[in-house]
Amino acid sequence: MKNDSLKEFISKNREGFDAQTPPENLWQKIESALPKFPKQVFWNSVSFWRAAAIVLLGLSSYLFYVKNNTKVEKQDVAAMQGFSDLENYYSSQITEKMDLVSRYQSQTGLTEDEVTQNLKKLEAMYLVLKDQLKKRPTQDVRDALVLNLLVRIDLINQQLNKLDRPEKGEQKSI
């Protein structure tokens, strides 16, 4: 292609061709037509993400709480049922045996000994544990309660044996 003198002249003097000036008040018109609160400001703002984080945290905590509590309840329904069966059985055993002990004691005229006192202490501890079970129904507390009952039964059995023996001994001696 041959030289284009017009093209050369215009590109050399390009700035001179932008002679027109836009009207002064045009920016105000443009500005007034722009959205006051652009959507992007909201989505990009720190406040939005802060709010979102708080909502998310709250929701997670709630779901965590609900989930865990439901789980505990479900597990505990079965565990508590098993536990109350055990408790009923051992408690009735203890009551029965303690009756026997008291009867022996009143018959023989023996006063409370160390074992009986220990049994009472264990019973007191048992009541404290029972109270704790209401607040915190965990397997540990239930285990401690069952152990308490078993130790008491064991002690009562020993006591009964002790009380039984002199009687037998007396019979033998007679």
Partner: protein, 175 residues
Amino acid sequence: MDELIARCRGGDRQAHYQLYKLYSRAMYNVGYRIVNNADEAKDVLQDAFISAFNNLQSYRGDSSFGGWLKRIVVNKAINLVRRRRFERLPENENFDVKEEEVVDEFEGYPFEVEKVRRAIEQLPDGYRVVLSLYLLEGYDHGEIGEILGITESTSKSQFNRSKKKLKEILEGGNL
């Protein structure tokens, strides 16, 4: 520039104003050369900036921001000219035109910026738009074809005719 655009996307009005200050004069002249009067050039500039600011998310940065904005101005201005009934933008010729012999009709011509500028303003719409897009806005004939919906060769022949017409105006002495 990227930071300024990011601030605009975030709704920073000060950043919008800075972009306007940077580009308003150049863009006003782009629009003015196409529509050829101050009132419509003002409307074009206003519409183009509002449209650009509202659609900044579609600017991907693969071209310069000025180039992207210029294309918006050009399209708005051409739409305005198209709505005029009395003058028409070039249309495709119905038959293949033999490529005209390109002659440098302005060889040694004593140009003056002001005279050339005013002569361009006196060109009919169809000639002025093609000549301005090619010589002042820096589009090639392929791009002009795309903008105006005509073929590249139509753009070329229209440009050659517009140069002849421009020379007539310049030599007519009514400037």
